[in-house]
Subunit: 147 residues, 2 copies
DNA sequence: AACGATAATGAAAATCGTTTTCAATTATAA
DNA sequence: TTATAATTGAAAACGATTTTCATTATCGTT
């Protein structure tokens, strides 16, 4: 896949060696529509590279995060899952049922930030915005779950 | 303090007993302007109740969270700190230097949520918004740190 | 005020996710 | 092909949180 290849190129460019273990981890994370925990990456990547160790997953995620290729995703259920990093100014919209995550952009909240900052004597320098809901596929399923 | 007393009343109302350990923990968390981790609560509460055990801090925080009196705060440095719960629809503004946290309200992002939801076929049901910056006291200090 | 049922406590042990250590393996430049 | 240094996985260590358990303390009842 394209993104996968790009990550490998980046790793190489930063002096890291390309190994089977890294290829497997990169492939899994780069192509995931859901945020994955280290163990989830481990389980998925072992199908392509059975000798993989969980330690190597941790080490590879750490490097990918340093290079800005992935980012940690905070959710109610936990804060140790990773997704490909946002492109520019984007935020996440996450399905509460299946975990599918999409980035959106086009939010302009600078006026709000200025107002709130002024009201409390703060200078606002960063913001987190994240939306949760139900994706198209899961909307009917949730009704089914309830009934 | 007023909030502290209210929390104790709530605990009692839900069938929990009022103990020295609980009073100490409640007092510390209810009156904190910063989000506190279990160990921070432990250290602060022991000055009022030296026999306190860290386990009891965990157990008390768990109950306060169940009762909706406190909430977990997610930050870059960690996601295991607690603050008194927001009142109604409020979000946090946190100082990146001293950790001081204030709630703000008056944000209306429903139009944004509807637009983003439509664009991706999602129904948006929840949102997280959190601002980070420098409080009035810390703005000059940060310049000093840099120079 | 004293009692008794039982909730709550703290110390110690267990558990879980993550990190470190280390000897063996492997990628890569020469 | 070789040499070097990065990378690996297994095992041990670690730190935060949870569980276990015997003891203590709260609080409704007497
Ligand atoms: Mn934004
Ligand atoms: Mn809001
Ligand atoms: Zn978090
Ligand atoms: Zn500050």
């Amino acid at each position: 896949m394209a993104e996968s290849q790009d990550w490998l190129t980046q790793l190489k460019a930063h002096g890291y060696r390309l190994t089977g273990a890294r290829r497997a981890v990169v492939q899994v994370v780069a192509s995931s529509a859901r945020a994955l925990t280290p163990v989830e990456v481990y389980d998925a990547a072992r199908t392509a590279y059975p000798a993989l160790g969980l330690v190597t997953v941790y080490r590879t995620l750490e490097k990918l995060e340093e290079l800005g290729l992935i980012q940690r995703v905070h959710q109610e259920q936990g804060c140790n899952a990773y997704l490909p990093h946002a492109q520019g100014h984007q935020h996440l919209l996450i399905c509460q049922r299946c975990g599918r995550a999409v980035y959106f952009d086009g939010d302009d909240l600078t006026a709000l930030f200025a107002r709130v900052g002024d009201e409390h004597g703060f200078v606002v320098r960063e913001h987190w915005l994240q939306l949760f809901g139900l994706c198209a596929k899961c909307q009917p399923e949730v009704n089914r779950d309830v009934s």
